[in-house]
């Protein structure tokens, strides 16, 4: 490290983020800022299209946008500098120099490959569990996806959190790259897989974040070993309240073509524009894997009791006394936000506008803020 107050260090390169394991480049579909604009940390800078989904890039620091280097509709490789932010008093010459270097890098395409999350597997109860880890900080965060999802669904959350914690995202049994056999498909089996993962990794204390079914799994894991779980962040969790969209769940489980699947997927988002063909294709590719249909059917039996919720996570939460935060999209059509009433008084609840069930994809900063708030204690 050079002198931390030298001017070079005060120029912050805004780079193309790596959202998800397969992301190699992104396209800036619109800039929300112009050169000369003053921004605060967390301000929205640009919309970025990743093939899979469009996400919002936020400013990593406060300062003035001194240069916008990548043009609208330009493809930039992951890691490439697309803008420069610096305090107003950093001289123009230094900014010019940095901009020139960055523009050359962008034009030549010679951008250093950004190390994405490190992939790994552990064996738990005869199953292989796959996970992706990003960050090296002392605190540990575990992200648990929902029904039919996988570790990649945290693409907009894992990266920003990795600055302050070691963030693991796992694939539950039956999902992603983990073994597709889910046994009896019970919440207990899934929570056992999570506990086994923590054992194998030697993690003694962890902040657990769970979405939907993963929220119920997180709660069950906390009920099992309350001392191990530092906090819970529940994102539209299953098992709270009495409302559940059984038609969506059955439709998702049964859809056998992209055409059948797509109308169900639109129920996941406040803005159905998020349902890209890539998203539907990726889900169909997952659904066609051997063993996935049985896994989804089995887990459906856990999630539903007739047309009513089949899980009581609220009961399990009584075993856990640590801090609980809840993030719920107001436009959730799968597990309506009214379910959050079951957590009032027990948890700090954030209702999020313009977000459906996939809050962590649609309004990821709401989830990042909740987890960060917990880490700050």
């Amino acid at each position: 490290m050079t002198d931390p107050v030298s001017t070079e260090d005060t120029i912050t390169k805004v780079t193309m983020p790596k959202w998800g394991l397969s992301m190699k480049s992104g396209k800036i579909t619109s800039w929300f800022v112009a050169e000369g604009d003053e921004v605060a940390e967390g301000d929205e800078l640009a919309d970025i299209d990743t093939d899979k989904i469009t996400g919002v890039l936020e400013s990593p620091v406060p300062g003035v946008v001194r240069r916008v280097l990548a043009e609208t509709n330009e493809d930039a490789p992951v890691g490439a500098t697309i803008a420069l932010i610096a305090p107003a008093d950093v001289p123009e010459e230094l900014i010019d120099e940095a901009a020139r270097a960055a523009r050359e890098e962008l034009d030549s395409g010679a951008v250093d490959e950004v190390a994405g999350p490190a992939l790994g597997t552990v064996r738990v109860d005869g199953r292989t569990l796959s996970y992706a880890t990003l960050g090296t900080a002392a605190e540990t965060v575990l992200l648990i996806h929902g029904y039919g999802g996988d570790k990649n669904s945290w693409l907009f959350v894992q990266e920003p959190l990795s600055a302050r914690a070691t963030v693991h995202a796992i694939d539950l049994p039956g999902h992603g790259d983990s073994t597709k056999d889910v046994g009896d498909g019970s919440l207990d089996t899934l929570a056992g897989a999570v506990a086994g993962f923590l054992d194998q990794q030697g993690i003694e204390r962890v902040h657990v974040v769970g979405h939907s079914l993963g929220g119920a799994v997180a709660t069950a894991a906390a009920a099992r070993e309350p001392g191990r779980i530092a906090s819970l962040t529940l994102v539209a969790p299953a098992g709270y309240g009495d409302q559940i969209n059984a038609d969506y769940l059955r439709g998702f489980a049964r859809a056998s073509s992209r055409r059948e699947l797509k109308p169900h997927l639109t129920q996941l988002f406040a803005d159905p524009g998020h349902v890209t063909r890539q998203l539907a294709d990726d889900l169909m590719k997952y659904k066609r894997l051997d063993g996935v249909q049985q896994a989804l059917d089995s887990l459906l039996g856990t999630l539903l009791n007739g047309d009513r919720p089949g899980i009581d996570a609220a009961g399990l939460l009584r075993e856990f006394t640590g801090p609980v935060r809840v993030v719920w999209g107001r436009a959730d059509q799968v597990l309506p936000a009214a379910n959050a009433a079951a957590l009032e008084g027990r948890a700090q609840i954030a209702y999020v506008d313009n977000a459906g069930h996939m809050v962590h994809m649609e309004q990821p900063s709401a989830v990042v803020d909740a987890v960060a708030g917990t880490l700050d204690g």
């Binding site: 397969s22 992209r258 590719k285 894997l289 051997d290």
Partner: protein
């Protein structure tokens, strides 16, 4: 998880995974082991283009090299299928079908029907087709329309490594005879393929690209040709929707019709000769079922009605290319009553 492998490796992996999963799966044909039983066993080719490489060593006794007699080994495979095995017979070039066609169209294709559903014939005939390797008139044809014509056969044309693996696993598990057609110029194409086994159902087209201006239905190797043409057209603000039927029998009529109902224009791209082929078949389907939606005459981009030329420049001229596809699209866009 998915990683990048070639079309050749995808076919090989599908065979290996199904042979591991199911002991009744066997392979038979000419040079599938390649050198088996001779001192050259360890460096056996695994087929003329190396597609079955390594399987003979891994599954001793289950990869059978046969004499050069398609009528005998395809007949044997069909018979074995009726008695409980799941043979994958390799007809090295589709052009050789003439010598074993009775076994396929009059026997395998008819058993289920003639025995009132009591007999199943889970045989797969893998076969190479297509021009582009300068292999001349007897080793370059696209004869899948002949198989498509026969009720009782399923006909598959994988266009990418992902489709190749999932469709071949489906073919092996299917209880009907399946003709699995691999374009020889696609073997080195690479793409993302999951390591786990998976199946792609037959009769379900892939919408390779979305677009509102024109529907391009492309088969097998022509899918990537259509994609290149669509990329070129997109630069001129023309958005083409590309449909890859993946199987010509069964054919996913709904996806084609829904697309044409939206775009009002159809271009069918097929490397086969034009008479009695898929281009004509799909055109007839759309003319009959979606006539009211059409805003221009249907265009067919196919090979000419001639044998495949040996001379390289002529062979290149013979195969539909991106320019021909783009021109056909423009013709549908420019058409006025």
């Amino acid at each position: 998880m998915a990683r990048t492998i070639s079309y050749r490796e995808a076919v090989n992996e599908a065979l290996r995974q199904e042979m591991e999963r199911d002991g009744s799966v066997i392979i038979m044909g000419e040079d599938n082991a390649g050198g088996a039983g001779s001192p050259g066993e360890d460096d056996a080719w695994g087929g003329v283009l190396g597609v079955t490489k390594g399987l003979q060593q891994r599954f001793p006794g289950r990869v059978l090299d046969t004499p050069i007699s398609e009528s005998a080994f395809v007949g044997a495979a069909v018979g074995a299928a009726t008695r409980g095995l799941r043979p994958v017979a390799e007809l090295m070039f589709i052009d050789f079908m003439g010598v074993c066609f009775d076994q396929i169209f009059n026997q395998a294709a008819k058993f289920r029907y003639m025995f009132g559903g009591k007999a199943v014939t889970p045989v797969v005939v893998r076969t190479m087709y297509g021009a582009g390797l300068n292999a001349a008139a007897q080793h370059s044809q696209c004869l899948y329309p002949l198989f498509t014509h026969i009720p009782g056969l399923k006909v598959v044309l994988p266009s990418s490594p992902y489709e190749a693996k999932g469709l071949l696993i489906q073919a092996i598990r299917d209880n009907d005879p399946v003709i699995f057609c691999e374009h020889k110029a696609l073997y080195d194409m690479t793409g993302e393929v999951p390591e786990d086994s998976y199946t792609i159902p037959f009769g379900e087209a892939d919408v390779v690209r979305d677009g509102d201006d024109v529907t391009i239905v492309a088969l097998g190797r022509m899918v990537s040709v259509a994609e290149e043409a669509a990329a070129e057209l997109a630069r001129q603000d023309v958005q083409a929707e590309i449909i890859d039927p993946r199987t010509t029998s069964p054919l996913d009529r709904d996806t084609i019709l829904e697309s044409v109902e939206n775009t009002g224009r159809l271009v069918v791209v097929d490397e086969a000769t034009p008479r009695c082929g898929m281009a004509a078949d799909i055109s007839a389907l759309v003319a009959q079922e979606a006539f009211g939606a059409l805003r221009a005459p249907i265009e067919m981009v196919t090979a000419p009605h001639t044998p495949v030329p040996f001379a390289q420049p002529l062979e290149q001229l013979y195969i539909p290319d991106t320019q021909k596809v783009a021109n056909a699209v423009k013709k549908t866009l420019d058409w006025k009553k």
